[in-house]
């Protein structure tokens, strides 16, 4: 009894749904979908430069951000992810010349659609991180991680038992 009380005191209200308390010790799972040529190399640089960033991110490497079917983002949220970070080359720097211009359009639509469906806007975030921006990558991951931490675990539309 005493224990639960302590626990309750330690929780903070979720930004997404104030009625749901969040345990501050809870660690989210962030699915990071990174483009091979910039962001993935950027994350490598973060590591080799020994810059600290939260270990919550699970990285999936894709050839280009335009290879990402928005369904992948939705799928990540449906299974294990509490948040998704998609990162690619800066506009104009795409290894395949125009890939990220196409994906930029999709990102906007998928972000808005998920928001309309009741996902908090911070659940899905996008960034441009070049291969030289190791420090930026650490910043981005830290920001996404903190944002999702404030939202609490994602329960909505998760795989669950039968209706």
């Amino acid at each position: 009894m005493a224990e639960t009380k302590v626990k309750e005191q330690n929780t903070v209200a979720s930004v997404e749904n104030p009625e749901l308390p969040v345990d501050p010790n809870w660690e989210p799972v962030i699915v990071g979908i990174l483009c091979n040529w910039c962001s993935y190399a950027g994350s490598d640089l973060t590591g080799t430069s020994r810059i600290q960033y939260p270990p919550n991110i699970r990285i999936i490497r894709v050839p280009c951000t335009s290879r990402i079917d928005p369904v992948m983002i939705v799928k990540a949220l449906q299974t294990t992810g509490d948040g998704v970070l998609v990162s690619g080359c800066h506009p104009g720097d795409c290894h395949y010349i125009t890939g990220n211009y196409f994906s930029r359009r999709r990102f906007l639509v998928v972000k808005q659609m998920l928001w309309t469906m009741g996902y908090h806007e911070n659940r899905v975030q996008f960034s441009w991180v070049s291969a030289a921006e190791g420090a930026k990558f650490a910043q981005v991951v830290t920001k996404v991680c903190n944002d999702v931490k404030a939202l609490g675990p994602l329960h909505r539309f998760k795989k669950e038992d039968i209706k």
Partner: protein, 283 residues
């Protein structure tokens, strides 16, 4: 709005001139006043064709399946249907030479209760944008308005919206009627169908239904022409158009007022880009 006689005459003419093998039109339903798609190869059946404000189905759906594949087809389209036809043509699903398109300048369709359909009130393109022959008077393109239901949804709080969609997905029976009725869903093997695929599962749980519908929405973003074949088809009467309208709105507002299928050779919004597309949401 009644073009039954004209369409019958045209169909007879096309059959006698040997211009078509199959005709896709509407006929009256047996048993009630509604109409149903009518696909036939026998010229003698032409007199069953009708076209009134009850002709609501989008017949371009039939162009991509086996009934009409690689045959010469005569087809009736309204304004909205012609837009999806444009997309099918640009996406290489049908050959223009195989089609004889009878465009009808439409005044709006009515539903089962004889009230004008919501989509027709907000319709932007009542006259067909592609046709061989047009019936009725050509009408001007109307200005885009945001869907009233969508606006209502937008004013809800985040949790209310989430509840709304959880409710919607939990009512879905996953019969795939929406996908099958959609003229732009022509894939031979749909990613939703593949059992034990990475993305989808056949079991009907709320999350699986949601996943399937979200996939469908995202694959139709920038291509949906708001014919609402899906919503009419849904046996559970789910408000399927909402997220289509949402995507349409985002695309219209952000990508140079793009509306799907308005011109011949027009591609979906995601097949092109602009250097000045918004990216302020990206870190």
């Amino acid at each position: 709005m009644n073009y039954s006689k004209q369409i019958q005459d045209i169909a007879v003419r096309l059959f006698t001139e040997n211009k078509i093998d199959v005709f896709v039109g509407y006929r009256k339903n047996v048993g009630d006043d509604n109409q149903t798609p009518f696909i036939f190869k026998n010229p003698a059946l032409c007199d069953k064709l009708v076209f009134t404000e009850k002709s609501t189905h989008n017949l371009t759906n039939y162009l991509t399946n086996e009934t009409t594949k690689s045959k010469k087809v005569g087809l009736v389209v309204k304004g909205c249907d012609s837009r999806s036809l444009n997309l099918l043509l640009t996406e290489g699903q049908v050959k223009r030479d195989n089609l004889y398109i009878i465009g009808v300048s439409c005044d709006g369709c009515v539903d089962e209760k004889n009230e004008k359909e919501a989509r027709c009130i907000a319709c932007v393109m009542q006259s067909p944008v592609i046709y061989n022959e047009m019936l009725g008077i050509e009408k001007e393109k109307k200005t885009y308005t945001i869907d009233a239901d969508l606006l209502k949804l937008k004013h809800m709080s985040l949790t209310e919206r989430a509840d709304f969609f959880t409710e919607m997905f939990s009512n879905c029976i996953r019969c795939n009627a929406c996908r099958q009725s959609c003229p732009l869903c022509y894939c031979d093997k749909c990613v939703i169908d593949q059992d034990s695929s990475l993305y989808h599962n056949g079991a009907n749980t709320t999350s699986n239904a949601g996943m399937a519908l979200m996939t469908w929405y995202l694959h139709l973003a920038g291509r949906c022409v708001d014919c609402r074949n899906c919503e009419r088809a849904c046996p559970q009467n789910l408000p399927l158009h909402l997220l289509h309208k949402q995507n349409e709105m985002v695309i219209y507002e952000n990508f140079q007022n793009h509306q799907a299928g308005m011109y011949e050779k027009d591609r979906g919004a995601f097949y092109k880009y602009n250097l000045s597309d918004p990216d302020d949401f990206i870190m």
